[in-house]
């Protein structure tokens, strides 16, 4: 694979995570990873596979089972010059560390008038579709986007994963890096072998269109694109924007796209109420009200805990639900 061209590899999203970590750890000896089973065992999803052998136990640290301790320790290291990348096994297990992330990581800089910084990346797989309930499937990016002082990133392709992860590690401020575990191994994509960055705070237009702007991210990007192709056959031309960074949102791209189409839908798997769909609708109201031809349609998870199995396919926005939502906005 890697021999056909020296510069690109064909990787899955989770391999791109590993490659991003590997690349940055090779380049910068201050970068280290820590977490539950990340060392010898290579992590529950194998995102840190082989790093222990490559970089040793001082840079790939197996910790006790204690998220608050893991993230709190990482904040302490970040404040004193290292660049730790703690891994939380599933996003639903991040809550013991919530206090450290919100009360400290996010605020060290302002609280110390810039004397302390916190160049930390908290990685966690998020999202549903893996047939497991609650903590193993939830998508709570809005909790973190709501906290000033945190950047929140969600990639949807292997290429972006590596580039955004490297940007996050180099960022002088704390980043919550959420990985769509449903598509960890769903497909492969070309990923440069060298180091490169994808900027935080920039959305990507995945499909250009003129009738409606559909904003999405992470694992919902693929069903949204599929819905857009289906609708194209029915004569509805969708623009699909993968936001990639949930905080700070790329207002410019959102507004520019909306001014072109005058209609919008947001697709996310998080519960509807308080989800980022509301924030995107507000940006549109604030900056492009006079262009608006229909209410912003939110296609989202339910306002319930993430359910098990039989209800999961219904809870998660499917291609059919996305199409239906887009039609609602277009036919308004």
């Amino acid at each position: 694979m890697a021999t056909q061209q020296t510069t690109t590899q064909n990787l899955t999203l989770v391999q791109a995570v590993r490659d991003g970590l590997y690349t940055e750890m090779s380049r910068d000896s201050d970068v280290l990873v820590l977490g539950e089973d990340v060392g010898k065992n290579g992590g529950v999803f194998r995102a840190t596979e082989g790093l222990y052998d490559e970089f040793g136990p001082d840079r790939v640290i197996d910790t006790p089972l204690a998220e608050s301790g893991i993230v709190g320790t990482a904040i302490g290291m970040a404040a004193y010059g290292l660049k730790p990348v703690p891994e939380i096994q599933f996003m639903g297990f991040i809550y013991p560390a919530f206090d450290q992330i919100v009360s400290h990581a996010a605020r060290l800089r302002t609280r110390s008038r810039g004397r302390f910084t916190c160049p930390l990346v908290v990685r966690a797989p998020y999202g549903g579709g893996i047939r497991a309930p609650e903590h193993h499937s939830e998508s709570k990016e809005a909790f973190f986007a709501h906290e000033p002082g945190l950047k929140v990133v969600i990639p949807s392709t292997p290429h972006d994963t590596k580039g955004l992860l490297i940007s996050a590690i180099r960022d002088p401020d704390p980043v919550v890096f959420l990985e769509p575990k449903l598509i960890y191994r769903a497909f492969r994509g070309d990923v440069p072998e060298d180091d490169y960055t994808v900027p935080i705070g920039e959305a990507a237009v995945r499909r250009e269109g003129t009738d409606i702007s559909v904003f999405t991210w992470g694992a919902m990007t693929r069903p949204t694109l599929e819905a857009a192709e289906n609708l194209a056959e029915a004569g509805v031309d969708c623009e699909v924007v993968d936001l990639r960074t949930m905080s700070p949102l790329d207002r410019e791209t959102i507004v520019e796209s909306f001014k072109k189409t005058g209609r919008a839908a947001v697709v996310h798997e998080a519960p509807k109420t308080g989800g980022l769909g509301g924030e995107i609708a507000s940006i549109i109201q604030e900056e492009a009200l006079l262009y608006q031809e229909a209410p912003v349609e939110r296609i989202a998870g339910f306002d319930t805990p993430f359910p098990l199995y039989a209800l999961e396919d219904y809870y998660l926005p499917s291609v059919a639900r996305v199409e239906e939502g887009i039609r609602n906005a277009v036919e308004f």
């Binding site: 089973d37 006790p64 199995y309 209800l311 059919a320």
Partner: protein
Amino acid sequence: MVTADVETADGQTEILRRMLTIREFDSTAGQLFADGEIPGFVHLYIGEEAVAVGACAALDEDDYITSTHRGHGHCIAKGLDPARMMAELYGKRDGYCNGKGGSMHIADVDAGMLGANGIVGAGPPLAAGAALTAQLQGDERVALSFCGDGAVAQGQVHEAINLAATWDLPSIFLVENNQFGEGTPVEKQHNVENLSETAEAYDIPGFTVDGMDVVAVYEAVAEARKRAVAGDGPTLVEADTYRFRGHFEGDHQPYRDEDDIEVWRERDPIEAFKRRLIDAGTLTEDGYEELKSEVEATIREAVSFAESADDPAPYEAYDDMFAASIPEIEQFARKARTDGGESR
């Protein structure tokens, strides 16, 4: 229900039956998971049966327990119905949580089972609360919380033990030391030699017992229960045990090899107790085989119950969100009812 105890012949048979039921339930669940019948994750209790069964046998029927992600054994030991448990594993409506919780969230308030728990370390504070309730209400109930060796690294476990110790709560903290938290061995997670030494920090009694010996676990918990009921506060019991299967089904287990497991298999808790009963003349080989086929039949029935149960309907996701109806949620549910989940 026949009570399980270590003194009477019937009680001993019941102990053996419960251990066998756990083994059969979990072996079957492992197979069904491999066959793709059971969604999500399953964490099996095989090898650790003596801990749950010994501990619950020493409790009163009215006592409370809290459980963990590896909870099937605790449920069966506390007297839950394997059929409704299996239905929950399948995500069916007739399961203990109507198919919304799955393997890691089985709970039954009536049985004093405050829940398996997907969050490692979350059970002990709940047990402290149940124990405080018992104390304030002046009844003789005790709350026992099971947690793993890994969980002892979680802050909330220590918060719970400290509260319980400070307030002399009728509680028991039972640490199942199965030597690993996922793939990390216990000695890489803790500085103490025995986890029971943790008790010293809270000035409560702490014991380490052989968790492969159901009688040893029973006796330690019975003693702890006496203290609890007498108003003398919590006890920490560490049971040394081993899981014979992977952390979860599908775990490749790079952290250990067959030989490590074999050493512990030779101390199989079911085999050991069976030998003991046969040697004492309480049980015959035939009697054992009979018990085993009864248990197998129970689990077969549990599986057919689960298989034939219905899936919950999409709108049921909105059930039981709050005691009172919330207009917003009603509106979601109504929509789900009318399109019936068609638009997948």
